[in-house]
């Protein structure tokens, strides 16, 4: 059986060949210790990617060029063997089973490489190759569906737009709190802030978008407090540890990749195409009302030219992107070097939106002698683009009449073409916002092995960037009869300068206590220093038209925000290893945070974890290759944001030489104490059936208590918010990772991996006197506003809003908090459903579960992989739908002139039988129906717009063809591959509008339940060519 199911390793890599030299042919047979043939063993010439695999009988043949010295035999579950070729033409090899081989290496806190086997907590690794395959420019998006316990939501489809990542649920009750994980690149912390524009939303980037996914070797996701205990306060939300590519000793390698992509909006609501401009069913060609007018055929009688446009579809274009990447790497015996250059350019589906990223990276390692080594890397990135005011564009698109051409947007004199309403495309083109980020991330790493049991490691890293932004809203152009975008116009210049420094010192001691028991002790110090200075200069009202400069305005305003935060940590970490199957790890860390009051700024927290490879000591069934149990308990402390310990005043812009002072709306506290998260985690790992089935199950529970919250309070207190320690949030969940290889033959293999995530959270406690914490709310017309509130005992993410009144036989219960959708709707005396204006829970914005299924099918030189990503049981408020209802734009409103009987019961419980009209004005029955059912009633009920936003997406599919060895030999290349891929091309969802994944809060915002009038989500297609030399 073992022989039948044999892995076929990294087939596409095995296609090398340059052979202008004299060649020699080597043949042989590979067997296991029992003498049975091993098919599928990889046989590669060292220092090249040239190689082959063994056939069904374990035999192989390989041409080795002159100068080839060593053959490398490798196979999962066995030790890799290196055999000198010399003058041999037959090399038979016996592979040794390798227990250590299962000891996959992962990168844990502070870049410490550890064997997965030893860990008492869950860590999941994603290879860089799998990230690059998605063609997603933002590494956050590239991780979608690939890691259990991780929820990633793209905030929209704009080029460079931010994406949000949450590990094991939200940990902060603070509406503005940071719930996203720490990002560490090559051992240093990098900034992943998202600074949205201060005005209308622009869909700016989360700063991790500056990383080029092509430069990434691997990503390790540290999920729980035990995994991140050493990072302390900074990683209370988990940590993403990124390792970038390094050079390798041997031949110089050159890799080039070029990719071209196209994208389009992946889902539209169903627009109606019958009723055009006007109100009350009347045709009014200059009316504000886009689609309450007369039916198209009635107007065409008067005006044969009259037609309808699907405005949103007509305005959206096909976006384009190109990605070019070149890397060079190599090295000698004692040093290596890696360098890369990349250029990415994307145009979005909304015209005039674009984003570019240029990056250059160099890294190197030097071993000075056996004891002392150094490494370092530096990456420069320039990124930014034109960020259109998508929120304004999408709104004006709703106001823009369906009977007016939306693409003809500009008059010859450069002024706006309009029949009255703001023109969406003119707004897109001229209300500009451009960002330009220059960023340098660098680190130097020194390692000194003083003795074989004692080593020192010091690392210092820098992440610094300047983010320059310019927004221009033109005033009148000074041409006749223009309708200006603004009567004054303004220019806003923003300069954000940020600098993060990380310094890490670790001393490591090894000691063999007995033959079987050894200990590793690490003692370390960690200093982290953030400094940021933001200056915003605004100029209002241009003096000379069309000259956009800060000097050409009647009013100039400036503001400045300085932020400084420092952290010092001291920690110890002891790992005991008993006979390589039982591992105990104890850590303790003390942090000093500048953000807390001096008396409370020092805090200590412990963690302990246990890993037990019980398959080593307990008799297991034969099919079990490896089984481990994990348990951990950890506490993590947390500081807060700077400047929350005082009462301050803010100044207002000078007026007539006087500066106004006003008390800050937020009251700080000098009594703040650190937040504490304690978490408990149990896990089971197993590999079965010759390691063809892998399982990793985790159960966790984490409680974040003493949270430092900015609690909204009655304005009558003199404040809008108080900062205080209040409240506890609990997250409980399971994660399941399954990896399998259902089919494995020399020519064909199928690998599948499943990541399943389920998280439940509860607001355990909020300080007395605070009934609820408003995380956010979004406007809805006529009282349809929906809010996300935290209430004790409820889960995070409950959505509150208005609903239709439901019928209760014994009267509506007094303390009704939740809408019971299954009950009959109460119909009023007017024949319309009765609106319940008391806010009830009408949905929840946290998913019930998430699942990603990745499949990789390999046949000879072809590789097909696809990822199905599912998000289930999540509700969202569609502001789009609320607006569409106000203007009668979707196809359900085609029944606007019907007479209906609403399904429901009268207040006495009897069935409703009253006929009503849905239209505007005087109905067929002579009754005045006002502005119609949809405008007067439907749009004022939040329930109509809070909908199930679950989806199943074909997140990514890619087909790759590697040029076979014979063909490659005829080219100057070491390898050639061509791939076609697509993202989000299939979307199954009950949601009826744009892609339900988009939300308006941006990656940093916690009010994720609201679509806003966001940048529509997209699907994309790519063609990619990879060449290696």
């Amino acid at each position: 059986m073992k022989r039948f199911f044999t892995i076929w390793m990294i087939s596409w890599l095995v296609c090398a060949g340059f052979s202008s030299y004299a060649q020699q042919t080597v043949t042989g047979r590979v067997t296991d210790a029992a003498g049975a043939a091993l098919p599928g063993v990889s046989v590669v010439i060292d220092q090249t990617s040239q190689g082959t695999v063994t056939g069904a009988n374990g035999e192989y043949t390989i041409n080795t060029p002159a100068g080839a010295e060593v053959l490398v035999f490798s196979f999962i579950g066995y030790s890799t063997q290196r055999v000198s070729i010399g003058s041999q033409s037959t090399i038979n090899v016996t592979m040794e089973e390798d227990i250590q081989q299962l000891q996959e290496v992962v990168v844990t806190a502070f870049g410490v490489e550890q064997q997965r086997r030893q860990l008492g907590y869950s860590v999941q690794t994603v290879e860089g190759e799998d990230l690059a395959k998605t063609e997603q420019p933002n590494v956050v998006n590239a991780l979608q569906g690939k890691v259990a316990g991780v929820q990633i939501t793209s905030s929209g489809g704009a080029p460079g737009m931010s994406s949000r990542i949450i590990i094991r649920g939200l940990t902060s009750l603070n509406p503005d709190g940071n719930n996203q994980p720490l990002w560490v690149v090559d051992g240093i912390q990098i900034d992943n802030s998202t600074f949205e524009s201060s005005g209308t939303p622009r869909g700016l980037s989360n700063r991790v978008a500056d990383l080029n996914p092509n430069d990434i070797e691997s990503v390790n996701v540290l999920k729980g407090a035990a995994a991140t205990a050493l990072y302390g306060v900074r990683a209370a939300n988990g940590a993403i540890i990124v390792t970038t590519k390094k050079g390798q000793s041997g031949k110089v390698k050159v890799d080039f990749k070029t990719s071209f992509g196209m994208e389009e909006v992946n889902n539209h609501p169903d627009y109606q195409q019958r009723y055009g401009q006007g109100f009350s069913g009347e045709y009014q060609p200059t009316s504000f009302w886009p689609s309450w007018g007369a039916p198209v055929e009635a107007v065409q009688v008067i005006d044969p030219e009259y037609r309808m446009y699907e405005t949103t579809k007509e305005v959206m274009q096909t976006g384009k992107s190109t990605d070019n990447y070149l890397s060079v790497s190599g090295g000698g015996e004692n040093s290596t070097i890696f360098a890369s250059l990349a250029y990415f350019d994307q145009e979005g589906v909304i015209p005039f939106s674009d984003w570019q990223r240029v990056s250059a990276k160099i890294s190197g390692t030097v071993d000075f002698n056996n004891k002392f080594s150094a490494s370092g890397s530096m990456t420069y990135t320039n990124s930014g683009g034109m960020r259109v005011p998508h929120d304004r564009i999408m709104e004006t698109l709703q106001y823009w009449s369906y009977s007016q051409d939306p693409n003809d947007f500009e008059n010859p004199d450069g002024s706006q073409r309009t029949y009255g309403n703001s023109n969406p495309l003119y707004t897109a083109k001229y209300w500009t916002y451009e960002d330009n980020v220059d960023r340098i991330i660098g680190n130097i790493n020194l390692k000194y092995n003083i003795t074989d049991w004692f080593s020192l490691n010091y690392r210092i890293g820098l992440d610094t960037y300047s983010d320059q932004r310019e927004e221009i809203l033109p005033g009148p152009l000074g041409v006749a009869n223009e309708v200006a975008l603004s009567s004054t116009g303004f220019i806003e210049e923003t300069r954000i300068n940020s600098r993060n420094i990380t310094s890490t010192f670790i001393a490591t001691f090894f000691h063999d206590i007995t033959d079987r028991l050894n200990a590793t002790l690490r003692i370390g110090n960690d200093i982290f220093d953030i400094s940021r200075n933001t200056i915003v200069a605004t100029g209002n009202e241009f003096v000379v038209p069309q000259f956009y400069h800060l000097s050409n305005v009647t009013e100039q305003l400036t503001s400045q925000f300085i932020l400084q935060e420092r952290l010092i940590g001291l920690y110890g970490d002891l790992t005991l290893n008993y006979d390589d199957f039982l591992f105990l790890n104890i850590t303790g860390r003390n942090d000093w945070s500048s953000t807390l009051p001096a008396d409370n700024r020092s805090f200590f927290y412990p963690a302990i974890n246990l890993g037990f490879v019980f398959s080593e000591v307990v008799d297991m069934p034969d099919f079990v290759n490896y089984a481990k149990f994990r348990a951990s308990y950890a506490e993590v402390g947390k500081g807060t944001e700077p400047y929350r310990t005082q009462l301050v005043y803010t100044t207002t812009d000078p007026l007539n030489g006087q500066v106004g002072f006003t008390r800050s709306n937020v009251l700080g506290s000098d009594q703040l104490t650190p937040e504490r998260t304690s978490s408990l985690e149990f896990g089971l790992e197993a590999n079965m059936f010759d390691n063809r089935l892998g399982l990793d199950f985790t159960w966790y529970k984490s409680n974040s208590a003493d949270q430092i919250l900015s609690v909204p309070v009655s304005n009558a207190t003199g404040f809008t918010r108080l900062i205080l320690n209040a409240g506890e949030l609990e997250n409980k969940g399971i994660e399941l990772v399954l990896r399998g290889t259902p089919v494995r033959t020399p020519d064909f293999s199928w690998d599948v991996s499943v990541n399943f995530t389920r998280n439940r959270n509860t607001v355990v406690d909020i300080r007395e006197g605070i009934e609820s914490i408003l995380v956010g709310s979004q406007f809805g017309y006529a009282g349809a506003t929906v809010s996300m509130q935290l209430i004790e005992g409820d889960p995070y993410g409950n959505l509150y809003g208005t609903s239709y009144q439901r019928y209760y036989e014994n009267g509506t219960p007094e303390n009704l908090t939740e809408l019971d959708e299954d009950r009959s709707i109460v119909i009023g005396d007017d024949g319309y459903p009765v609106r319940n204006s008391n806010a009830l829970v009408i949905g929840n914005a946290q998913p019930d579960w998430l699942m990603g299924i990745q499949n990789t099918l390999t046949y000879k030189d072809f590789t097909l992989s696809f990822l199905i990503d599912t998000r289930y049981g999540i509700d969202q408020y569609s502001q789009y739908d609320n607006f569409y209802a106000a203007f009668g734009q979707l196809d359900y409103s085609l029944d606007r002139n019907s007479v209906v009987i609403f399904d429901g019961v009268r207040s006495d419980g009897s069935p409703n039988d009253q006929q009503v009209w849905l239209g505007q004005g005087i109905g067929p029955d002579g009754r005045n129906y006002g502005a119609s059912f949809y405008r007067d009633d439907f749009r004022g009920v939040s329930e109509n717009f809070v909908k199930d936003a679950s989806f199943v997406k074909l997140r990514n599919i890619s087909l790759r063809y590697d040029l076979g060895q014979n063909l490659v030999e005829k080219t100057p290349f070491r390898g050639v591959s061509l791939s076609a891929s697509a993202n989000n091309i299939i979307l199954w969802t009950p949601w009826q509008s744009f892609d339900p994944e988009s939300f308006s809060a941006g990656a940093g915002g916690n009010a994720t339940a609201f679509t806003g009038l966001g940048y529509p989500g997209v699907r994309s297609y790519f063609l990619t060519l990879n060449l290696s030399l």
Partner: protein
């Protein structure tokens, strides 16, 4: 040797640790000061008081049909159940800063700052109580509790009068501080204490008049307050605006000109002026708002929207320029002409129709002069027998009709309207009226969501038909 090593180690650790403490002492906010000067607080509160008057007026101007929305069924226009959170916030924000100014002025013994603070607080508190009735006051402004209790609106009227009396007392006496004297930081009177005293008396008259439907109505008390009030319109309490911070109504007019529609005039107001309602024309329209491209004055029916009228040129709306809507127009808090109409109404109730009649005519004339009507047109208007009806024929209806015109855009008119039960000639509820009102005018606004959500145990349960205490 060993001991020496140990000592060195201890010393080194000590240095490192104390160094750390300094290294971490960076949490004093570098962006914002922890103290505010009296002058900065007066700058802010005197200026923002003007904005608050305007904020409230953006609601009341629709309620009393000065303005009407160009769109049908607009929420404020149809007196919908809107929670005016922002207005509430602004009022409390300013009252909070005034409270800090009171504390600081008391500490510094700056009696004139304290006196102005009391009067400013009375203005803002009055605006708040008149819109919402009972509101938090005794437990407010200093975060004593996060759920402040509500004070009864009638009791708060005593507080308001008390604040005005305290202000008058403090400003009537010499300043107790040599170093703290209000001046250009006062955007209402530039530190002129005499004018502040007159304004405080005018305000007293206003708040006393609000009680006209209650048993505490005392016309003679009003008249004695009037006696200590303004002597002419140059003494009006108004807030200055500047090119860098333009008059908020002018901003409405400018926005409207660039099609952010707003500031459209109600048909009710136009018809009160153009002769439709009263049979004679009032010359003030060109000085208050704009005409159509045809030079006509056409209003919009409240709640009904502009119908098929174009966005521009076919209806009357606020236009930039003139007394109310220039960029640097001052914004009226309380005026001489309001005081004259208060006097007229109180004197009528007091049986002194002669005094009432003189005040009535003076109110009309001074308003007309203030907004720039030429004297000839003023004289023509005042000589119209339907205006100059003679002392014997003067009615409260006539006084309130003229007061309605003279208090254009002032939120005080909503107080008058409620006392008067909206009995203005031909005034009817808006089209598409909020169905919850059952065909009636709203007599208050509902509490903001910030209160119903964060202070629900205290906030009274009200509808828009519940009355403020003095509206009976």
């Amino acid at each position: 040797m060993k001991i020496l090593n140990k000592l060195t180690l201890i010393l080194a650790s000590f240095l490192v640790l104390t160094g750390c403490e300094d290294y971490l002492d960076i949490n004093d906010d570098p962006n914002n000061p922890t103290d505010a000067p009296l002058s900065g607080l007066l700058t802010r509160t005197s200026f923002e008081t003007g904005d608050n008057v305007q904020n409230v007026s953006t609601v009341t101007s629709f309620y009393v049909q000065y303005l009407a929305s160009p769109n049908p069924g607009s929420a404020t226009d149809i007196m919908d159940n809107v929670a005016y959170d922002q207005t509430w916030f602004e009022l409390y924000d300013v009252m909070t800063d005034i409270s800090d100014m009171e504390v600081l002025a008391t500490e510094e013994d700056a009696s004139h700052y304290l006196g102005i603070a009391k009067i400013l607080k009375a203005i803002n508190l009055g605006l708040t109580v008149d819109m919402w009735g009972s509101i938090p006051y005794d437990e407010a402004f200093f975060a004593q509790t996060i759920t402040p209790a509500y004070d009864d609106d009638q009791a708060l009227y005593t507080t308001i009068t008390g604040l005005l009396d305290e202000g008058i007392g403090l400003l009537s006496a010499p300043n107790t501080s040599e170093s703290f004297e209000p001046g250009n930081d006062d955007f209402i009177y530039q530190g002129d204490t005499d004018l502040w005293i007159k304004a405080a008396n005018a305000l007293k008259a206003r708040f006393l008049l609000h009680q006209s439907e209650t048993s505490s109505y005392d016309p003679s008390a009003i008249l004695s307050a009037v006696d200590n009030g303004f002597d002419d319109a140059s003494e009006n309490a108004t807030v200055e605006y500047f090119d860098v911070q333009i008059n908020p109504w002018s901003a409405v007019a400018i926005n409207n000109a660039s099609l952010l529609l707003g500031g459209w005039i109600s048909e009710q107001l136009v018809e009160s002026l153009d002769g439709t309602t009263y049979g004679y024309e009032d010359p003030r329209m060109p000085y208050m708002f704009g005409a159509t491209d045809e030079g006509e004055y056409i209003g919009v029916e409240n709640g009904a929207g502009r119908g098929d009228a174009a966005e521009q040129g076919e209806r009357s709306y606020l236009v930039e320029g003139g007394y109310y809507t220039s960029r640097t127009s001052s914004l009226e808090v309380i005026t001489y002409y309001e005081l004259k109409f208060i006097e007229a109404e109180a004197a009528l109730a007091d049986g002194n129709s002669g005094r009432a009649y003189d005040a009535y005519l003076e109110g009309i004339e001074s308003h007309m002069q203030t907004i720039g009507v030429p004297q000839g047109e003023i004289d023509d208007y005042l000589s119209n027998g339907q205006v100059s009806v003679g002392a014997g024929s003067l009615t409260r209806d006539l006084v309130l009709k003229e007061k309605y015109i003279a208090l254009f855009l002032n939120p005080e008119t909503y107080n008058d309207a409620r006392r008067y039960d909206f009995q203005y000639e031909d005034m009817t509820v808006a089209a598409n009226l909020n169905p919850d009102l059952g065909g009636n005018f709203a007599t208050r606004i509902i509490y903001p969501e910030s209160e119903t959500q964060r202070n629900s145990s205290n906030v009274p349960n009200v509808t828009m038909l519940d009355n403020i205490w003095w509206d009976q």
